[in-house]
């Protein structure tokens, strides 16, 4: 057969091609017939329809999911925003319309022209946004004079309203206009330019749940572009509502306690890992992001030395200082370096190599065992424990307590802190580990860095008997009509590698640090509540060259104050970590904040009683 095909006289292909052409012509006859039908037979009718074509599409924004605190108190709401738009084709004459609009609504005319200028290239029949969120007064003025403003539209769209702003600003985050980069991302595939999306905090991490689905309407409009009839509607689907584990009252309390200070406070539920409060100070006004922030406000925010936009509870890293001694004590006991009876003599310093390492208490603690070391935060005791453990064993324990890596909380930009090892230093700096550095590390200084959230979780795990939970902030997610689609369950991520006996000893030390007359946090003890805790004072390494004891120039930079605590002593219900930047002493600056948070929470939100808690006198403040 192939021979036949190769034959020049073969007409096999020719016949098939003729058949193909016949089919093509037949199909084209159908196309042409359809063209004739539309353009000739129906032409006149369709021409008429095109001339009065008054059917437009209008999109209907979906309300974003609401955010509640653990007691179903509304934290993030939606309010109506009146957005002013113009359809250039309908606004005839344009100059006069703009001029009148400016007069009625009291909006700067130049600003209106500016918005129009930016919309160059938009089709004349598409609404151009002139000014979002014009407010009720301008709306009323426009509505009254609508007859005089052809082509002017006011659309109502839902806009975010943070009820307690600036409270919880770092937690809830804020929203902003979607960027060109984000538009290219698959997760924003249902967004269009100009949309607002979560940019930070829960708004960002839970964007997927909070964002609803846009709906729309086919509407008939009259000659001036006003809607006269809705032909059909596709309903917008509202986003899901989120209930946080945050207790807004406790959150507000923490924020008030930190007012005028720079720092952070975190409270978690030791029995589940749920975050009860997460305050970062100073804060910022989230609503300013929604209504469009001026350049100056933004510049002021990002150049503020106190970093108001940073969530210090998870983004800022501090040397854990003496709060780290909890881990050193546990490690020493567990590794057999010390036991309940081991004691060292503290003369107020330790000579190591050719250097002298000081205890914060100049004249020394005398004979010190592990309980007294924790109670009074004796540095010399922990120098010796650390020295015997070595940096790598210490690091292993610190990591087992959850330090050195992000906790995995459902917020963005979380820092992991730093737990140094000998190898780390070799890799990083190309220099071997110095024995003396272990001493600094043993009291939480040196290269050690931790976030307040990490330290709150350390307190929680020690307090609850050694179980580590993943920190959680979203409690439930519900659809707009109340159906629960997500319910968080406590997630155990590990256990502290410390025996029950040793852990009890550490906890005894933490109890005494608050409730023993010599305890560093004695001043912040609570009536009727057995609070356990540990103070810390993180040395701030200044950027000045003349840093040191004899700093002659200017004021010395004050140290950061730490306090980690949990309460009550058995089956604790709350664990707290507080840092006050440049607060100087943990006992005087941080402990009262934590104590008040705990008192407030455990009393079920009772206001503070008349008798104010004693603020520790400076003399009992710990050093180092």
């Amino acid at each position: 057969m192939t021979n036949y095909l190769d034959n020049v006289d073969s007409d096999w292909f020719g016949k098939r091609l003729s058949a193909a052409l016949t089919v093509v012509i037949a199909v084209f006859v159908v196309l042409i017939a359809r063209l004739l039908f539309l353009q000739v037979i129906e032409g006149e009718e369709l021409r008429r329809l095109s001339e009065i074509n008054s059917i437009r599409l209008k999109s209907v924004e979906a309300p974003r999911g609401l955010i509640y605190d653990t007691h179903n108190r509304l934290m993030a709401d939606n309010r109506p925003s009146y957005d002013l738009s113009i359809i250039v084709k309908d606004a005839n004459p344009l100059e006069r319309t703009i001029e009148k609009l400016s007069r009625y609504a009291n909006i700067d005319e130049a600003q209106l022209w500016d918005s129009l200028e930016k919309a160059k290239g938009t089709r004349a029949y598409k609404p151009v946004l002139l000014k979002p969120d014009i407010g009720r007064d301008a709306l009323a003025a426009i509505e009254v004079n609508r007859w005089d403003l052809p082509g002017i539209l006011v659309n109502v769209s839902p806009r975010r309203d943070y009820i307690f702003s600036p409270s919880s600003a770092h937690l809830l985050g804020y929203m902003g206009e979607i960027s060109v980069e984000e538009l290219k991302n698959k997760i924003y595939s249902d967004c269009k330019s100009g949309d607002f999306i979560g940019k930070y905090g829960i708004e960002r991490t839970r964007e997927h749940w909070l964002r609803g689905k846009r709906g729309g309407q086919q509407v008939e409009v009259n000659a001036t572009g006003q809607v006269v009839r809705v032909l059909s509607t596709v309903d917008a689907i509202p986003g899901h509502n989120i209930v946080l584990s945050i207790d807004q009252s406790l959150q507000l309390t923490a924020e008030q306690l930190l007012a005028d200070k720079s720092g952070a406070a975190v409270a978690v539920d030791p029995s589940s890992g749920q975050i009860l409060a997460m305050a970062s100070s100073p804060s910022f006004d989230q609503n300013a992001f929604i209504s469009g922030m001026s350049h100056d406000t933004w510049n002021a925010l990002i150049s503020d030395p106190l970093h108001p936009l940073e969530n210090k509870a998870i983004q800022a890293e501090y040397p854990p200082a003496s709060t780290y001694k909890i881990i050193v004590a546990a490690a020493g006991l567990e590794e057999g370096v010390i036991d309940v009876n081991t004691s060292f003599f503290c003369p107020g310093f330790l000579k190591f190599g050719n250097r002298t390492y000081r205890c914060w208490k100049k004249w020394g603690h005398g004979e010190v065992d592990v309980l007294k070391a924790l109670t009074e935060s004796c540095d010399v005791y922990f120098y010796q424990v650390g020295q015997e453990l070595g940096v790598d064993r210490l690091a292993w324990y610190a990591r087992a307590f959850g330090l050195g890596e992000p906790t995995g909380v459902d917020l963005d930009h979380e820092s992991g802190g730093l737990i140094p090892t000998a190898q780390w230093k070799k890799n990083r700096m190309g220099v071997s580990w110095q024995k003396g550095e272990t001493l600094s590390v043993a009291i939480g200084q040196g290269f050690n860095l931790a976030t307040p959230l990490q330290m709150a979780l350390v307190a929680a795990a020690v307090g609850n008997g050694g179980t580590r939970y993943r920190p959680m902030i979203v409690k439930t997610i519900r659809t707009a009509d109340g159906q629960t689609i997500f319910e968080s369950v406590p997630e155990v991520i590990g256990r502290l590698p410390v025996s029950e006996k040793n852990l009890r000893l550490v906890r005894e030390g933490l109890f005494k640090a608050v409730n023993d007359r010599h305890g560093t946090a004695w001043g912040s003890r609570l009536d009727g509540v057995a609070m356990c805790g540990k103070t810390g004072t993180a040395q701030v390494v200044g950027r000045r060259d003349d840093e040191g004891d004899g700093g002659s120039e200017g004021e010395p930079i004050k140290d950061h104050a730490w306090f980690v605590a949990y309460a009550p002593r058995e089956d604790p219900r709350i664990a707290v970590a507080v840092i006050v930047e440049h607060g100087e002493h943990g006992s005087s600056a941080a402990a009262p904040v934590a104590a008040e948070m705990i008192r407030f929470y455990l009393s079920g939100g009772q206001p503070k009683s008349d008798a104010p808690l004693a603020v520790a006198p400076a003399s009992s403040a710990e050093g180092d």
Binding site: G14, F28, L35, V40, G43, S50, N53, T122, R123, A124
Partner: protein
Amino acid sequence: MFDRRLLQCFDWGLLVLTLSIGAMGLVVLYSAVSAGAIEPDFLLFRKQLIWYGGGIGVMVFCFLFDYKQFERFANLIYLASVGSLAAVLFFGKYVGGSRRWLSIGPFSLQPSEMAKVAVIIVLARYFAKLINTDGLTLRDLMVPAFLTAVPFALIVRQPDLGTAMVIALIAGAMTLFAKIERRAFIWLVATFTLLVPLVWFFLRGYQKQRILTFLNPDRDPLGAGYHIIQSKIAIGSGMLTGKGFLKGTQNALSFLPEQHTDFIFSVLAEEWGLMGSLSVVILFLLIIAWGLSIAGRCRDPFGTILSVGVTAMIAWQVVINIGMVMGLMPVVGVTLPFVSYGGSSIITMMIGIGLLMNVSMRRFKFE
């Protein structure tokens, strides 16, 4: 290699047909991009001009050397094409929920468009070897089915159902042209009838919506249903002579979706009326007939089947696109050859024309 005698055989007719439709396309694109804008943005128009320049270069390249070289390197071309389709799934950029574009420097190309040509070449090579007057058996069809299924599946994954469908239709047309044995044919028809409900399950939500919307446009008042109605109004309102250049109100009102790509025919029909739309339809018919006549004059099975494949590509896209905007077919994203905006589409079509010219020029050399 390039002989002066070849120049005498150059297919001026095809060139004139192509360039006339291209020129008409540019005029309509100009309307589409300036449609009712306060201040039109001609960036797309300028880009299209550049693509046409590139397209003509690619076309020349495609007829410079003997098309037999395409037969020799068919497998390589095919593998490169499948490779680029796989790459797009990993490195492609997302636009509106699908990954279709691969960026090469400042240019973005859709490998799925090029894949059409690759499939045509590889199938032409395969069929050229097996073709006989009895037709192909089921076993003969396994390989071409596989060769089509791989790019098809990769393109569906992007997802770009329209292009995937065009590839399948081109392959189907080529196979039918090569003739299927009667028994095999009955088998295939039976299997396809059973397969259709199965395919339904694999369609994505929006793809099902489109088909349902086609059957009942009122289902989607904000999307396809609205688009079909507005497109029909646009076409019909052009009447005999059209509303005039840049005077299309449907176009200006932006009642037409994707007016510079998928719905560009509506702009043409509105502004130029039956006069314009019929001219373009007849030009397309002439190009298709021309392609088939090139296939008929070729004395080499590969050249013939290659020409049939390229012609089928043009024919399917014309029929689907125009049928869609006139409300005869579901709304699927298929461009109108030489007219719709889009670099990849232009380049692919110009490659096709280059191949047809190549076969046409070398029709006498075979003897």
